[in-house]
Symmetry: C3
């Protein structure tokens, strides 16, 4: 049972610029609140369209207790449904990915069209009204190849995000990609700690040797390192300006971030030596030195768009202390494995980095359980966590005060 009073008390304790009060991270009951207030209410990144390319292709996921199926209809439309039979509630599609001409419940073979209509329910009486028993729809938006879903009855507006990120991502032509590799990692940590971990690179120097071959850690503008980075940035962005590739930070507020940033001089892609990961570049690119478009959106994804591949990261909470991270590596749809790219070379930096982050999130979670824990101060370089927690607090505020005058979340 969700105790709204408890949530209100925790919100009252929260101080901006500090990590959250303990209960938000470690109370088992907070999982249900987070599912309802966030994951059943917001747009969630689900997958890339290339994972459901052909009519009948489907992909499943579970948002908290809710099985969902996303599919490509015969007319080419991407649709999503609650993956739950209207007869006795069975989960319909069991595999994570597959292809089907129609959705047939394994239990009693009720048959649904790819648009959700119930078209056959054998043994039901003649007066049975099939029209009242179609699959319940889930909202879908496809934005630059990324499939977003929303389980809420009335989804929030996602048009600002779409408009803002499209110019950055579209040149990478994410529609013309394929999955080279995918993996799911279960992290022993609350999902908010997984997101916090992603929102700063303060921890990179001490933990991510593989990633720092390429990635420039946060630098202060005024010191020696900062000045060098400004020079690098100026050189790279003038080239990107020539190519018509936007790079300045988009206005995402607390909702999202989108920016193109350079790698270290001479580094082109997320590999152990910084060299290319795929010889066939994405879209129409001929210039490999494009740094990466770094994107994230609350509550559940971050993404890198490089000249030669795309990486999507998607999280879904499993319980208050377990979170699933799904990572997909996409390359040009015509790239040939063994010729244009090697899966190990393509994936090793982020497989290592993900494992390192999973360990950090887990020890973070364990330490927060202590009676000695009290919210601590974020460093200035952790400003993106402050945005995340501001957004989260506003969500919980609305959830815990359902009849209060509308909170205007700075989203």
């Amino acid at each position: 049972m969700i105790d709204l009073d408890h949530i209100r008390r925790l919100l009252a304790e929260r101080r901006d610029g500090f990590s959250l009060p303990q209960g938000f991270y470690v109370d088992p009951a907070m999982h249900e609140a987070d599912i309802k207030a966030v994951f059943e209410a917001d747009w969630l990144f689900a997958c890339n369209v290339c994972e459901i390319k052909q009519p009948g292709d489907f992909l499943t996921l579970e948002v908290g207790p809710n099985p969902v199926v996303i599919l490509r209809d015969r007319d080419g439309e991407v649709r999503a449904f609650h993956n739950t039979c209207r007869h006795r509630g069975s989960r319909i599609c069991g595999k994570e990915k597959g292809r089907a001409t129609r959705l047939v419940c394994p239990y009693h073979q009720w048959v649904y069209e790819l648009d959700g209509r119930l078209i056959n329910a054998r043994q039901m009486p003649p007066d049975f009204d099939r029209d009242g028993y179609g699959l319940k729809p889930v909202h879908v938006e496809v934005i630059c190849g990324m499939v977003y879903i929303c389980l809420a009855e009335t989804p929030p507006d996602i048009s600002r995000f779409r408009a803002a990120v499209t110019p950055y991502i579209k040149p990478h032509m994410p529609d013309r990609t394929k999955v080279a590799f995918e993996m799911t990692l279960i992290e022993d940590a609350n999902w908010k700690l997984v997101i916090e971990n992603n929102r700063e690179c303060y921890h990179c120097a001490g933990n991510h040797p593989e990633l720092l071959v390429t990635l420039v850690e946060f630098v202060l503008p005024d010191d020696e390192q900062g000045r060098k980075f400004q020079d690098l940035l100026a050189r790279k962005t003038s080239r990107w300006d020539q190519l018509g590739l936007p790079h300045r930070p988009a206005e995402g507020g607390q909702e999202f971030r989108c920016i193109r940033l350079p790698f270290h001089e001479g580094m082109l892609s997320f590999t152990m030596d910084g060299g290319p990961a795929c010889n066939k570049l994405l879209g129409d690119f001929t210039e490999p030195d494009l740094g990466s478009v770094r994107m994230f959106r609350v509550p559940n994804n971050w993404n890198h768009f490089l000249s030669d591949h795309i990486i999507h990261f998607r999280i879904l909470p499993l319980s208050h202390d377990r979170t699933a991270l799904r990572t997909t590596w996409l390359v040009h749809e015509d790239a040939v494995e063994g010729v244009d790219y090697d899966v190990e070379r393509l994936t090793q930096v982020w497989i290592a980095t993900n494992a390192e982050d999973a360990e950090l999130a887990a020890v973070n979670h364990r330490g927060i359980r202590s009676m000695a824990y009290e919210p601590g101060p974020y460093a200035p370089s952790e400003f993106m966590i402050r945005n995340f927690l501001g957004w989260y607090a506003a969500k919980m505020e609305s959830f815990a005060n359902p009849h209060a005058p509308m909170q205007v979340a700075a989203e």
Copy 2:
């Protein structure tokens, strides 16, 4: 803690002919309510008497948190006790089956007679009153070789069941059997979904190829298939009438079902080819073509009695989403393995069928967890589930309204 208000609200939402409101299946707290309202209150099928043939033979099981031991006393009586020492509460018998001259607690060796009396408690003071510390008895009834137990102080009446089923089962002489094979399967589903699965064959065509070699799926009386089945039934039952074997449905109401039904023409037993599973027939039978007596009783068993073997199915809930299914295959006590029967041939149909059903129950449970779940309509062929849920709702009604005027459950 059990919230009776919550149960009352769920009962008020229930619609006859539809699956239960979500909470009955997926709320973790409902497990405790089901244990108290059903499993600590009703008669439960435990085992066959042939499993405790000799004096001192015992068999243990756990009904929710309650360890129980069933044994054969020196005088031949079957008795059952709470398997919990009266000293400091240790479980006494640890093995699932065994033989003992007396029950000795492993902790401090308090010794109990097979009738439950405490006969030795070393180191206790001279004035210690052993008579006050015998094992607490559990009610037992043996009905056609089936051992039923009841943990309630005052057990409900089981005589109607005994009287009704005896004529069907007795000719199979279940007392003169032995266990050829037994196995326990843990299903990832609420126990009510395991029972619902057992109460209809609407799902058989799509899921049970092994079973349908023999079993006739539900047919509508008026169609072509129905007319063929009526012919088959007429032929078989006239033979059974000659043999004095009852076959028409017993009047079990919501409590139980008992009926003899034919297999497909030419099919004799639950094997992959429909041929005999054991060459030595049960009891005094000489006719192998007896179809099967199909019996079930709420809340926890279903059973098949064939000409050549008996199968008992017993379920016990482990938690709100895990259920143990124990299956025992019995053959004539004089049948010789390798000569009269082969264990693999005897068991393969139902090992496969149980595994298929376990998967269906598990995906049923997963789908019901969804926010999109709403109770759906049962098909007419699922009428036995409606009986089960009517019975269950009456049980919960009494449990949730303990001081209300007695509900007359149609049991």
Copy 3:
């Protein structure tokens, strides 16, 4: 959530001389109450000083949800801290044992001195007040080489214990030992059942053949066995009196026990044949026939001090039904493995005994879950359990009645 009313009701049901009401042992919520009322309030045995001999040596443990690190500072002092970073709460030291010049959080490399001061927090703003973010201290007392910690703000007095046990233990010179072997066993039982099991030898005859080679089980003073034991005791204690080794029971009340008792005649140490376990005796001993100083202290340790080795037993609850038992075998710091002692010979009696006790505690726990459980009477030989439960009840009484006039626990 802890329900104090529930605890008060259970306390009101408790009868002296009987095992506890069921809820104290098997309610999941009781774990949190026990952690707060007992394990975050009292002194706990943690380890031996020889495990953190050198400056920078540390040892970690978790008291309920609380990670703690115990270390040797540069000045030789033993200190303990909450092992939780003041930045975002990460657990700092991950290994059970190690050596460090400073404590560095793995997440963002905040650096703490061995005295707990935060000495570096890179990227924090210039006005960041490091002094306010030192590690939170945990109280420490070293008593005869045993490190005790207390997580309470104001720890209870431990001076009576120190004064009483020092004369018994000091001659064994526990400071001049080393760990020959250590192991941790997870028992499937409530921690109080693990303690109860340790507080009586009523169960020994039926369960501990290895231990009873050496140990004299409880005997009644007036019977044949009792008279023989009195003779043995008289012979041994007159020798110990000559050596100046105290042996009579210390006045520990419900808090602790300390006594030197003989082994069976001719038996010197906990080995399978009763012969020595280590040829190099502890401290300055030349006499190997010293029986053992048997010590325990509520809530979490028991210990044996022999002529040739010391064994520490430490329990910590993991949940309401899981308890970690850590056992360490110590020998003289100059003893050489393979020459003076053999690890298998040294450890086999108690490895076997621990395993036997773990099984007993687990079946005790399982049986107590039953609806048939009711508190049963302790035998006179179980008097030390009565002390333990009296102490525990007083603790829970104070916890459940925080504003009542101070209960004077006979501690």
